[in-house]
């Protein structure tokens, strides 16, 4: 890839350049294939021409909407650029930043890790040979890969399978080197293990385990307890059964709702995701997330953290990309997990509503930030439906490798190609959406979490009045747009008439 292709914002006006012993210069900043140029466009001031290859390190800071980039050069010079607009500043910064990451095709044939896609992003400092070694040290060959890069401070979320330390405390130098490569000098990182400590300890008997402090001194390990498999499946079965019982009295309903533990799972997953997001955004630390395989609770945490942190993942396209990246490419075994739902009696080992729990968590955040998402509840319900039964190929198979073998790309249609048609999109669009670039922190208190009625009570009660109210809301918003447009038009007309008058009245 040429550098020029990385340039998202090639030009920004009103940038102020600060250099020691020089007065500040305000001008236009341009990025070219080789240079960063700042020009005041006046004859008497000199222009700044800086080779990209001269940049040694950069720092970013934000005060309100004003961003500051401090560029430290290889010739020891340090300059400062004040850039109005957060978006512009981030784009400039990410263009000139020296990437510490690379795309690796070590898994091209799905040989290193059967559940990973052919291309993964890993630290530049680690070569493919090392990756192969790390893969043998991680469950299912799932060596740590980049899941999310937090543009604001350059911190990352990585995910992997559990380390295979076993009972005798096996270690892998390459693994340590790989994850250490993501740390800034003197900075600590966090490992979020989605299992409780005792479960992680027991895993050693089966060859699994967790990162020992002695071998990962720069990392702090945090254990959470997100449930898996049959426990989640049973929770779903209980919840659905209880929702279907129309006759039970209040006490029974509440006690069954409690006994299903569904909302407890929601709280636990959201809490862990918030913790991950917090480490990144507030702590300024990179994190590694894993449970056992790294295909279930891990993905819940990494994808929800992105919903919280990354405004783009709250748009329709961004959310689709998130599902594609963090669930489909990341190897969540949809085929196994969604084979049966809440009614089937036959005991299967692999079913679990992992993805539904993730969607429910997104819904909880959507409830709390109803204007921050481009999509509405229907979009989430649609995804739930297609994950379990679909005429499209998107959710078929357990991972990329299987999907390749099944030649799904040639033989089936993609869900996204249908969803993204304007006629369909309109059903999934949130009329209240107003893009906001903020990190959104949800409340995880039990009083703030709710049963997702759109899913669980959908067939148990009439939603006529609620639907009517929603329509009325949409009408008000549409009417507002209409009126705004009309007012603008009339103002323009009036202004034109006024200028005409002015012209006529002038001699």
């Amino acid at each position: 890839m040429e550098f020029a292709e990385l340039i998202k914002t090639p030009r920004v006006d009103n940038v102020v350049l600060h250099r020691p012993f020089y007065p500040p210069v305000e001008g236009t900043l341009c990025l070219t294939g080789h240079h960063l140029i700042l020009s005041s466009r006046q004859d008497n001031t000199e222009e700044l021409w800086l080779l990209h290859s001269n940049i040694d390190a950069i720092d970013k800071r934000f005060v309100g909407p004003l961003g500051t980039i401090i560029i430290k050069c290889k010739d020891f010079r340090i300059i400062q650029l004040d850039i109005p607009g957060m978006e512009e500043c981030l784009n400039i910064a990410s263009s000139i930043e020296i990437s510490e990451w690379r795309l690796s095709y070590v898994n091209k044939e799905f040989a290193v890790c059967p559940s990973y896609p052919p291309a993964v992003i890993v630290p530049k400092a680690v070569d493919d040979e090392a990756l192969r070694k790390v893969a043998t040290f991680r469950h299912g060959g799932r060596f740590p890969v980049l899941s999310y890069y937090h543009k604001k401070n350059g911190m990352v979320i990585m995910r992997s399978g559990q380390p295979l330390t076993g009972t005798n405390g096996r270690r892998c130098k390459e693994d340590e080197k790989l994850i250490n490569a993501t740390l800034r000098a003197g900075k600590r990182g966090y490992i979020i293990d989605t299992r409780p400590l005792n479960v992680a300890q027991q895993a050693r008997a089966k060859g699994g385990g967790f990162e020992q402090e002695a071998h990962y001194p720069q990392w702090r390990r945090i254990h959470k307890s997100i449930e898996r498999y049959h426990i989640l499946q049973e929770s779903l079965i209980k919840l659905v059964e209880s929702c279907n019982d129309q006759t039970q009295n209040m006490d029974r309903w509440l006690s069954k709702l409690e006994a299903s533990n569904w909302l407890t799972h929601i709280k636990e997953i959201l809490t862990t995701a918030c913790l991950a997001a917090q480490c990144l955004d507030r702590e300024g630390a990179s994190i590694l997330v894993h449970g056992t395989e790294g295909t279930d609770s891990t993905l819940q945490v990494t994808s929800l953290a992105q919903i919280i942190l990354e405004p783009r993942s709250r748009t329709i396209r961004g959310f689709e990309a998130l599902i594609e990246r963090e669930w489909l490419q990341a190897g969540h075994p949809f085929q196994q997990r969604c084979a049966q739902s809440a009614y089937c009696n036959s005991k299967q080992k692999w079913e679990a509503p992992v993805f539904l729990l993730f969607l429910d968590c997104v819904w909880q955040i959507l409830r709390q930030f109803p204007c921050s998402f481009e999509f509405n509840e229907n979009f989430l319900i649609m995804l739930f439906e297609h994950a379990y039964a679909s005429q499209f190929g998107t959710f078929l198979g357990n991972n990329e490798s299987e999907r390749c073998k099944l030649k799904l790309q040639q033989k089936t249609m993609s869900l996204w190609s249908w969803v993204n048609r304007p006629s369909e999109l309109s059903k999934f669009t949130n009329p209240l959406f107003e893009a906001n670039n903020l990190v959104i922190w949800p409340s995880v208190a039990p009083q703030s979490l709710q049963l997702w009625e759109g899913i669980f009570l959908r067939w148990n009660r009439s939603s006529k009045y609620l639907d009517e109210a929603y329509e009325e809301m949409v009408n008000i918003i549409e009417y507002n747009k209409e009126l705004q447009a009309k007012v603008n038009l009339l103002r323009r007309q009036l202004a034109e008439l006024e200028t005409e008058d002015g012209v006529q009245e002038s001699p």
Binding site: L254, T272, R282, P370, E472, M473
Partner: protein
């Protein structure tokens, strides 16, 4: 003020209610004659009205100071830490005195002065006119009349002066019946359904220990049933749970039998019609009660119905439990739901709602009149009558109508607001959240029927605020007689005009769909439709609320739409004027010699005006959750700090390493 010894304490900490690591704000605490005020370092003010204080507690001294916990009737809970114990003690003592007044005259309403003159104040009190309301319902009419029996509160002290009774019920019958009923609260009209010609009547229980019969009372009941030409059947709804009135039930059954006897004689010829009717009624009753119906007589025209709403003591302790649960720090989902269940709160709310639905159905589907009572007929009876009327009559779902409903079924019929809300230092056993439950039932209805109410949640919360505030005279006292004696209309102000002035805040932007606006509401009371009312019980715990409110946005957009419509009209007329002027201008151009200097503003018009649109949503869409100051990060960190020796504790967005 003799109770206040310390008026200002500095360096007081206000603890976050739910923080497990004692996150706090530091500021200054002021004590005034009416309020406790805390101003934090960001100049944010927290006002607590003394009358809102339900309890003050001084906890054991800690290293950082003396903790003072204040729980309010509007469910605000504040936890201060006062640096010096002496200051804490002074404030504690002052608050104890100030929050529990011994006499009505010391209540806030008697000193509150919103700068209105006497005429304005009087107009405020006349805003809600109950005679007008009965007229709206269609009484007096050929079957119902205004009785002057209680004009001087001689028959019943806790009823209003003006009462509506069946036209055929003579004064001796009324007097006789009142002697048979507890506190003299004989059966009177609460709501008249004009098109169904059916009535909702209310009374108290018959006096047990009395002779089993009271002919006058039987006559009065019969008169009520006769006052309904559409259906001679009537229901007597005892809102109490059956097991609590076993002994009393026997008496009641006797009256039933007697009336049955009379009526079966009267309507002997209508037997055939009746038996059909009976089947329908039975079916309906079974549907509502989920079990068989008690009255064994096939030709009865009275049906007894127990609906099982618990008494004020059960309700008080239920709320107590609920508040204990949801005030817990680091509450787990399971503890929340098991607490919600064991408090029984939602079960009680459902019971009230079910009773009101039964009442509304009897009138709507059967055109049958219903007599509602509990023990004294001022708590559960008020709940059921008012809620039932609200289901039936869309007027009560408007802002003004709701005020009328409260005036009628609660204030005038003697719901003992001062005792139930503990306005004065009195018997704590008389305090009970009966009216709060009514508001909660209404809130549940607004959730199920988002377009059926003219008002929004804020309106309900505001009313709840003021039943305890004692800032206005409306809810002071326990009955009309007492209010007259207190001369409230001369000495205090009425709440309603102030709410009406602020109407904009309380409007439901979605109100108005025809199907919901005018319909009889038939709520579904399946258990899962009842939810914990977070915005009431955590009204002041902002961190638990959604960070963006759809309701506010739509409300503002609605307002903006009105403004825009006006703008469009203005602009159109301006354009029209301009056009006319232009045509004139062209005609008279030759006559114009002088050159007017071109206004600089004109040039700017094009670019400026387009931006001038109201930036309506900007303020509202500020996202609270995104500011680190009002967020609770400890929640996320709580669990892991338990799981293993704490590694980090993340709070306030600033991490503290505690290893």
């Amino acid at each position: 003020m003799e109770h206040i010894r310390t008026t200002k304490v500095e360096q007081v900490k206000l603890l976050d209610r739910f923080s497990t690591s004692n996150k706090s704000l530091t500021g200054t605490l002021y004590l005034t004659a009416t309020h406790l005020l805390f101003i934090d370092a960001h100049q944010k003010e927290t006002w607590i009205l003394h009358h809102h204080i339900a309890s003050v507690e001084k906890l054991a001294l800690t290293t950082s100071g003396c903790p003072l916990v204040i729980q309010c009737k509007n469910f605000r809970t504040v936890h201060f830490i006062v640096p010096r114990e002496r200051d804490c003690h002074d404030i504690y003592n002052s608050l104890l005195q100030l929050s529990k007044q011994a006499k009505y005259e010391d209540l806030y309403a008697f000193s509150y002065n919103p700068k209105q003159n006497d005429a304005e104040r009087l107009r405020g009190w006349e805003l809600i006119d109950l005679a007008e309301e009965y007229k709206r319902m269609g009484v007096p009419n050929s079957n119902w009349q205004l009785s002057d029996a209680n004009r001087d509160y001689k028959i019943c002290e806790t009823y209003p002066r003006e009462l509506y009774v069946p036209r055929i019920a003579s004064k001796p019958i009324i007097v006789g019946s009142s002697k048979f009923r507890s506190k003299g609260r004989f059966p009177v009209l609460s709501y008249y359904h004009q098109s169904k010609e059916a009535a909702i009547c209310r009374c108290s229980q018959p006096l047990s220990g009395f002779s089993a019969r009271c002919l006058e009372d039987e006559h009065l009941l019969q008169a009520i049933s006769k006052a309904n030409p559409a259906n001679r059947y009537m229901y007597v709804m005892d809102t109490r749970p059956r097991h609590r009135v076993q002994s009393w039930w026997a008496t009641q059954k006797d009256i039933g039998r007697i009336i049955v006897r009379i009526s079966s004689k009267i309507w002997n010829d209508e037997k055939i019609r009746e038996s059909d009717e009976k089947k329908r009624l039975n079916a309906m009753a079974n549907r509502a009660a989920g079990k068989g119906y008690e009255n064994e007589d096939n030709y009865s025209n009275i049906r007894f119905q127990f609906v099982g709403i618990e008494n004020i003591h059960v309700m008080r302790s239920s709320l107590q439990k609920l508040l204990e649960v949801n005030g817990t720090k680091g509450l787990s989902v399971n503890d929340f739901y098991s607490g919600l269940e064991s408090s029984g709160w939602l079960r009680h709310i459902k019971a009230v709602m079910d009773a009101a639905i039964f009442l509304a159905k009897a009138i709507e589907a059967e055109s049958a009149s219903v007599l509602v009572h509990c023990s004294d007929g001022w708590d559960r009876t008020s709940q059921v009558c008012s809620l039932g009327s609200l289901l039936l009559d869309p007027y009560y779902r408007t802002i003004r109508g709701f005020m009328v409903l409260i005036e009628k079924d609660w204030i005038s019929f003697g719901h003992k607001f001062s005792e139930r809300c503990g306005h004065l230092d009195g018997d704590p056993k008389e305090v009970s959240p009966v009216f709060t439950q009514f508001l909660e039932c209404v809130w549940h209805l607004t959730e199920q029927f988002p377009q059926a109410f003219e008002f929004n949640e804020a309106f309900l919360l505001q009313i709840h605020e003021h039943i305890h505030s004692c800032q206005f005279g409306n809810f002071i006292g326990n009955c009309q007689k007492e209010r007259e004696e207190l001369k409230l209309k001369e000495k205090t102000y009425s709440l309603w005009p102030f709410l009406l002035d602020d109407q904009k805040k309380y409007l439901n932007p979605l109100y108005g769909s025809q199907s919901q606006k005018s319909a009889v509401l038939e709520p579904n009371t399946v258990s899962f439709n009842f939810k914990f009312w977070r915005n009431m019980y955590h009204q002041f715990d902002r961190t638990l609320h959604p960070r963006q409110s759809v309701f506010n946005i739509i409300m503002n957009m609605n307002e903006q739409n009105k403004q825009l419509e006006k703008d469009i009209k203005d602009l159109e007329s301006q354009i029209k004027q301009r056009k006319n002027k232009q045509t004139d201008g062209i005609l008279s151009k030759e006559l114009l010699n002088s050159v007017r200097p071109e206004s600089p503003a004109l040039k700017a018009t094009l670019s400026l005006k387009e931006q001038a649109l109201l930036p309506v949503n900007d303020v509202l869409r500020t996202i609270e959750g995104s500011s680190p100051a009002d967020n609770r990060y400890s929640e996320y960190a709580d669990e892991f700090s338990k799981a293993e020796p704490a590694v980090v504790s993340l709070e306030y967005g600033v991490a503290r390493m505690t290893c």
